[in-house]
């Protein structure tokens, strides 16, 4: 695939955690580029820094040092609220453990990012219907996460991640908590989204899951192997 445009660019990203008295380097100088429309999987053993890398790409965490360009813009210097609006509109995040609001219905979970984006009621309704239909859960819109299976919860989470139609979708072990059938469903949906032109970055430790992607980045001890 020709890299028409770089959408994510990391240069020498380091992340150091202070654990008690000593410093733990989760990422020790990661540099990588991801092109628009690419489907990349990030693999590596436990503790290799996959999730830390994803959290930094997803603007959920900030690097200790290094530069991160998202659509050519340096993210490092942005304020919390600017990052919030990036998370809201540029990035969709799917977590291993779904991270749905437990007290809210499927519909309401998908609605949250739309609310934070200031969409009016009519447009919210329209968009949620579209999204729930796309993940095949419109009939479950009044159900709470506890009344849904793992696969269904992850589909709701996926619908939420896509709420504001972000160009980039980040998935951290999206199938990690699912049975293989549900996992395949999710991968099918991700594949479809990629074909629509979305950039997808996915963390996994499962080769079969990684096989869905175009390119695999391998991490080892906080560095690209």
């Amino acid at each position: 695939m020709s890299k028409a445009e770089t959408i994510i660019e990391l240069r020498g990203i380091k992340k150091v955690y202070q654990m008690g008295g000593h410093a733990l380097e989760a990422l020790s100088g990661v540099s990588l580029e991801i092109g628009r429309g690419e489907f990349v999987s990030v693999m590596g053993p436990s503790g290799s820094g996959k999730s830390t890398l994803m959290n930094i790409i997803g603007c959920l965490d900030t690097p200790t040092s290094g530069e991160y360009y998202l659509e050519g813009k340096n993210v490092a210097g942005l304020t919390f609220d600017q990052l919030s609006s990036i998370r809201n509109q540029k990035l969709g995040f799917v977590f291993q453990n779904f991270n749905l609001l437990t007290y809210a219905t499927a519909w309401e979970n998908v609605e949250v990012p739309l609310l934070f984006n200031g969409k009016n009621a009519r447009r919210r309704r329209q968009r949620i219907t579209e999204l729930l239909e796309a993940v095949g859960l419109l009939d479950w819109k009044e159900h709470r996460p506890s009344e849904l299976s793992g696969g269904e919860q992850q589909r709701i989470a996926l619908a939420r991640a896509l709420a504001n139609d972000p160009p980039i979708l980040l998935a951290d072990e999206p199938t990690g908590n699912l049975d293989s059938k549900s996992g395949e469903d999710i991968m099918g949906l991700l594949g479809g989204l990629w074909k629509e032109g979305r950039t997808i970055v996915m963390v996994t430790h499962d080769d079969r899951i990684a096989a869905h992607s175009e390119r695999t980045i391998r991490l080892f001890d906080g560095q690209v192997a």
Partner: protein, 416 residues
């Protein structure tokens, strides 16, 4: 203003109200207790004023005494009396006096319808009504100037006297025999509460025009002179002037505290009011302490609730919530909880106070019930309360929320 987010927060709050039910209840209970406590305190103060006005408001009462200081060559121990002509003298010489009235009384048999009772019978002038809160029941009146001028044989009687003789029947127009002289009842005293008196409660008294009283009573001097100063602040001055004027007339030392018996109810009322103000302050302090304990509890609960929601905050941040959105949500939730708890506390306290006030008071004297059963609900107390509790609850909500909003989204998400 865009209400999308507030509406969303209200919806979330409603969904989760069970989680905050305890806080709401604590606020409800605190509001209820403090408001009721203060309403009773305020009621006691107010009732003490009412009870005192049962005798009369801003009243100075002068009676005779015995000199205790040698003065102008006269030995001490002389009896000093006040006489009917002192009324004119005092009025003329002390312009600070607004109203003045004489009073004499005697214990006599009073009879009607074949029933005879011993009652204290007073002779006085029309001014007495205003001085001593003698308000007639509808259909009757107090002694007037014509009664006094013509020496009419008319009587104004306490409601118990009326009940003793005539039961439930209309007493006005009926005849009573006072010391073997017939008098026509012209009015019955309206019921009132009274906590200070000298010849028993006004309910048991019989009042005659002074002129008519003098015809059947042989005592040349007065038992009392009632004086009301033009202003409350003048009471001490008027008291001193009375001593001076009467001291010159009856030749006693104005500094002689025993020459005249002076009962200054203004002083009494002030003393009593001070005591009740202190009780009110005391109850206020108890209320404030209760409030403080409650606020600590509410703060704690708020804190726990917000902590419990750290992960939720993380999720919201991950999908694009701004810091101020997070803080706004908690401020609004705090406001909802606060509004709900205090609103119902207020409504309940207001109704309890209203219901307690419906309990009838016994007219037998002025018992503890009269002080306790007339709580006064005051809005100023409520607003002060709202201000204090509002601030505390607001702080209790805002601190943990601000703290949570400062977390990295990932830290908040991982929070257990």
């Amino acid at each position: 203003m865009n209400l999308t987010l507030p509406r969303f927060f209200l919806r979330e709050f409603r969904k989760r109200r069970k989680k905050t039910a305890l806080i709401t209840f604590a606020l409800f209970w605190g509001t209820l207790c403090v408001l009721i406590l203060l309403a009773f305190g305020r009621g006691m103060s107010a009732q003490s004023r009412v009870a005192f006005s049962g005798l009369g408001e801003n009243l100075i009462m002068i009676s005779g005494g015995q000199s205790s200081i040698v003065h102008g060559g006269l030995a001490k121990g002389r009896l000093i009396r006040v006489y009917p002509n002192d009324i004119e003298d005092l009025k003329k010489r002390i312009p600070e006096i607004a109203v003045i009235a004489p009073e004499s009384y005697n214990g006599w048999p009073v009879s009607a319808r074949g029933k005879e009772l011993n009652r204290t019978v007073h002779g006085t002038t029309p001014e007495f009504a205003g001085l001593r809160t003698q308000i007639p029941q509808p259909g009757g009146r107090f002694i007037n100037a014509d009664d006094e001028a013509e020496g009419r044989k008319v009587a104004f009687i306490g409601w118990k006297v009326a009940a003793d003789f005539f039961g439930g029947e209309e007493a006005v127009g009926k005849e009573i025999i006072v010391n073997r002289v017939p008098f026509t009842v012209i009015g019955v005293l309206q019921k009132k509460i009274q906590n200070s008196m000298y010849q028993g409660p006004d309910a048991d008294q019989v009042y005659l025009p002074f002129s008519a009283f003098s015809q059947i009573d042989s005592q040349p001097y007065l038992d009392r002179i009632h004086v009301q100063p033009r202003e409350l602040g003048l009471s001490k001055l008027v008291e001193e002037r009375i001593r001076t004027v009467l001291g010159r007339k009856y030749r006693f030392d104005p500094a002689d505290r025993y020459a005249l018996g002076i009962w200054n109810t203004i002083d009494n009322a002030r003393e009593q009011e001070k005591i009740f103000k202190r009780i009110e302050i005391f109850l206020g302090v108890i209320g404030a302490l209760t409030l403080f304990i409650g606020a600590v509890g509410v703060t704690n609960l708020m804190y726990a609730v917000v902590r419990e929601r750290t992960q939720e905050i993380g999720i919201k941040m991950a999908v694009g919530a701004r810091r101020r959105t997070i803080v706004l949500q908690f401020i609004l939730e705090t406001l909802f909880i606060f509004a709900k708890g205090t609103f119902w506390g207020f409504i309940t306290a207001f109704n309890i106070v209203g219901l307690v006030r419906l309990i009838p008071l016994s007219e037998e004297g002025f018992g503890i019930g009269a002080y306790l059963l007339r709580p006064v609900f005051s809005m100023d107390i409520f607003f002060i309360f709202l201000g204090i509790v509002g601030t505390l609850v607001f702080l209790a909500g805002i601190f943990p929320a601000t703290r949570a909003s400062r977390l990295n989204p990932i830290e908040a998400l991982r929070y257990e």
